[in-house]
């Protein structure tokens, strides 16, 4: 019989080390986590000449150190998790280190590793282990390289120092900045992250700079603090506290469970995840918000701080887990939810949060590449609980805001009455002659103010009326679809029956009438399809939108209307890149529908000029960074004698009889929401008005 063993080629070190862990900083973080598991109160990371190949990284801690046995059965044994067999450290911390693959990645950053460890249990002794990775290059199997542990006397206190030298690659400024951020956020800007304290430092200017920003905590500048808790029975509770410290809303399991995606559906009996604490500090970054709270801090400082620490971070046993809360890892979809309903929802730029989970049952399983947890049931439920809590807070804030709005309207009315009374009183104290002059001034001031208020109220009324017109039009368009279908079907039947009539003369008489019915029905169909098409749910969903496709669709919808006015539409395209913009179809349709409606009206204005044909040209030109959408016509152009060109965008400004003056305001608002620009020429390339909309193109 021959006894054999599985052996591993040295390449496995590469596979399991540097190839598995995407960023070097993740490996370094793993060494720091080992220091935490060694019950170290502090851990320092030093970068020496890492900006070029050959540099050094030193990670030192004052933890328990390792005995030879610890080294043999722990540090040098890759792939085994100690967490499952020995969940607690002697110092009472829950272990956070995993399997040693991240450690391997860190150790392989350089050609040489020197480990010096001084066990607490054997004072004055130091074990030294040197790994030279080059020794593995010439062997068949990993086990063929022997590693020697030397033991010597020392006067140094317990702890472990690891020196990774002769680095294979240089650390870019970005790498260092990322490492600095990761180390600073490992315990976070929050108080009491780790019981007993665990301090990490990095000897790099980036760290010191960022540390100043991070540790300048601005928690007291928050507008709201949301605190939620999930108990060990999976029952949720939450409260919302305002900047004054007043609790403005509290929610129980039922309230939170009913929020969010499952509104009107059943509440989960329990969230099946370990106990969780979720806190979110949200900020109002307007100067007015700071004034209101009488804050002495600068808005910009808070903004800078949020840029460094913002987002909701996940803390597992007190240490932050990458990448939750990092740029591009909005794991609770806060920004998406805010985009869908922007009112009173915080984004990752205006809030900072912490989700803390202790996980005594080891339900959270780190991914092998150390980028977060495997999305198992415990994790999905944790995320679901947090998202429900955010939804609950948003609906509570909306309710609060509505009641505040009602209250401020009432107060405003009262203020006006009392200000008038006070002014009257003050006037009576003046000498008669002065009083007359002052009375005249205050009267003209009052009149001007009331005119201004009146014009604003008219504008609000106009918007409301238009809103009502919109909703009513949609309802009637919807309802008229059925009788219209009936007319079309009946006309079709009659038309076919006409052909069976024996007398040709009757046939001709009826055919003309029938054709009028069919054409009119087709026109009516456009008028019902157009508003229904505009309010379609699918069109209001943010997506990457091909502007050319939307132009084609709007032209198709408008064609019967434009044809009735003898207007033809020509579509031009320029550029080879796809004209993609991140927006909603509804937004682009709003732009086009308003521009088309204006162009169509322009042709109906009596004018002295003569033209052979009425044309509207749509032009979509794509550059690397922009999509330029132009709508041009050969109508009479914008009459700048009646309205200055710069005023066409202002609400209520119109030269059209019975017009609302809101069409171009809507265009401007939509374009501005998309961070684009809108321009107009009174007389453009075709002689009529020309509008040019520049939007940012989606690159990939």
């Amino acid at each position: 019989m021959t006894i054999e063993r599985l052996r591993f080629a040295p390449e496995i070190l590469q596979r399991l080390g540097e190839e598995l862990v995407p960023h070097p900083d993740l490996g370094v973080i793993e060494l720091v986590r080992n220091a935490y598991d060694a019950d170290a109160p502090t851990c320092s990371v030093q970068l020496v000449q890492v900006d070029h190949v050959g540099g050094r990284i030193i990670v030192a801690d004052d933890g328990d150190g390792m005995t030879i046995d610890d080294l043999r059965s722990g540090w040098l044994l890759l792939g085994r998790s100690r967490k499952s067999v020995d969940a607690m450290t002697p110092g009472g911390r829950r272990r956070v280190g995993e399997k040693g693959l991240g450690r391997l990645a860190a150790l392989r950053l350089g050609n040489r590793v020197e480990l010096r460890t001084r066990p607490r249990r054997a004072p004055e002794l130091e074990h030294v282990l040197i790994i030279d990775w080059r020794n593995f290059d010439g062997v068949d199997a990993v086990e063929d390289v022997t590693l020697e542990i030397r033991t010597q006397n020392t006067v140094k206190s317990h702890g472990t120092d690891i020196v990774i030298s002769e680095l294979n690659t240089a650390f870019s400024k970005q790498d260092v900045a990322r490492l600095a951020r990761a180390l600073l956020l490992l315990t976070g800007p929050f108080s009491k992250s780790v019981e007993g304290g665990f301090t990490v430092s990095l000897d790099a200017p980036e760290f010191a700079q960022l540390e100043r920003v991070v540790h300048n905590a601005y928690f007291d500048e928050r507008e709201y603090l949301l605190s939620a808790h999930l108990d060990q029975d999976g029952q949720a509770s939450a409260k919302l506290v305002d900047w004054r410290g007043h609790t403005v809303a509290t929610g129980d399991h039922q309230d939170i469970g009913l929020s969010g995606n499952t509104k009107s559906r059943s509440v989960p009996l329990a969230y099946t995840t370990p106990p969780v604490d979720f806190e979110l500090w949200s900020y109002n970054l307007s100067a007015r918000g700071f004034e209101l709270r009488d804050s002495q801090r600068k808005v910009d400082d808070v903004r800078k701080w949020l840029r460094a620490v913002g987002g909701v971070h996940l803390y597992h046993r007190g240490l932050r887990v990458h990448p939750y809360g990092d740029d591009g890892h909005d794991w609770l979809d806060m920004n998406l939810r805010r985009a869908r309903s922007p009112e009173v929802r915080p984004s990752t730029n205006t809030s900072v949060g912490r989700v803390s989970v202790n996980d005594p049952g080891n339900l959270f399983v780190p991914k092998t590449d150390r980028s977060g947890f495997v999305e198992n049931m415990a994790f999905v439920e944790l995320r679901f609980f947090c998202q429900n809590t955010l939804d609950w807070a948003a609906s509570e804030r909306l309710r609060l805001r509505e009641s505040q709005r009602d209250e401020s309207r009432r107060q405003a009315r009262q203020k006006v009455v009392s200000a008038k009374e006070q002014a009257q009183k003050a006037l009576t104290t003046l000498p008669p002659q002065t009083r007359k002059v002052v009375e005249q001034f205050t009267e003209s001031l009052r009149t001007a103010y009331e005119e201004r208020v009146q014009s604003l109220e008219d504008e609000v009324q106009l918007y409301r009326t238009l809103g009502t017109v919109g909703t009513t039009t949609a309802v009637f368009a919807h309802e008229s679809a059925r009788p219209l279908s009936r007319i079309e079907q009946a006309a079709g039947i009659m038309e076919r029956k006409l052909h069976t009539l024996p007398q040709e003369s009757h046939k001709q008489d009826f055919e003309r009438q029938m054709s009028a019915v069919i054409l009119s029905a087709a026109s009516l169909r456009t008028f019902t399809d157009l508003p229904l098409g505009l309010v379609s749910r699918r069109k209001r969903r943010p997506a990457v939108v091909d502007i050319g496709d939307v132009v084609a669709e709007v032209v198709r919808l408008f064609t019967p209307h434009l044809s009735a006015l003898d207007i033809s539409v020509e579509n031009e395209r320029g550029g080879v890149l796809p004209p993609n913009v991140r927006t909603t179809v509804a937004a682009i349709e709003s732009i086009l529908a308003n521009l088309f409606a204006n162009a169509a009206y322009a042709f109906t204005v009596p004018t002295t000029g003569s033209r052979d044909r009425r044309i509207i040209v749509t032009r979509v030109i794509t550059t690397t960074s922009q999509v330029i959408l132009s709508v041009l016509d050969n109508g009479p152009g914008i009459d700048t004698a009646r309205i200055p060109l710069e005023d066409i965008w202002i609400p209520g400004q119109t030269t059209r009889e019975g017009g609302t003056g809101l069409g171009l305001t809507i265009v401007k608002d939509v374009v501005s929401d998309l961070d684009g620009s809108a321009y107009a020429k009174a007389q453009g390339e075709l002689g009529g008005a020309e509008f040019r909309i520049e939007l940012q193109r989606v690159i990939s």
Binding site: N261, T262, A481, Q489, A521
Partner: protein
Amino acid sequence: MSRTKLLEGDSVAVIDDVREDAELTADLIGEAGFEPKIICPPPSSIEVLLEEIRKNTRAVICDHRLTGRANVRYHGAEVVAKSNEAHVPAVLITTYADVDTYSIRLWRSRIPRLLRRGRHSDPDAMTSALLQAEKEQVGEFEPDRVGYRTVVRVANVRTREGLSVAEVIISAWNPAEAVEIPTELITRDVDLAERRLPDMRFMAKVNIYAESPDELYFESFEVAPPIPREWLP
């Protein structure tokens, strides 16, 4: 034993809750050479209706919204699907194909053709739709109606008009467009709570050659095997 070919003079049930609409559809069916049999208003029980269809007619054309004037608890889509299951060829007709997407989608796999009420619903269109329904019963599908087993990823779950809806991506159909389907379509096959669906991948039978999202159907969901760990970044 039933005949295999729908013939001129065969009786076709026209089901609608509005008499004027039923009569117009009946006229078109008559023009197409069939014998229309109006059922208006439809009975409150779908079983009674299906029994009547089975006994007295060779095919069915049914309006989707039957609740406007009739006191029924079902939609036309369910009638059409169940009629096809019972081997009576049936097609759906509606004015609101773009609006009633969820209630139609629930039964779409057994709705061979959806006719839009109006000028295009002429006798030829109706005959062709009924013949196609008949062909599907013997396994002859148009290319855009053939279902293939493919991956369906749930991007999100949300509530629309009180109904739980999943936004799904079917890469084999169009990787850039999310399609909304009632979550019930998934949860009736797979024992999972709705909240677990986001980011999950399923295998389902989908007619991936459908032209528009409204024509897509989904059936036989099962949880897809996990992505191999080594594929993950």
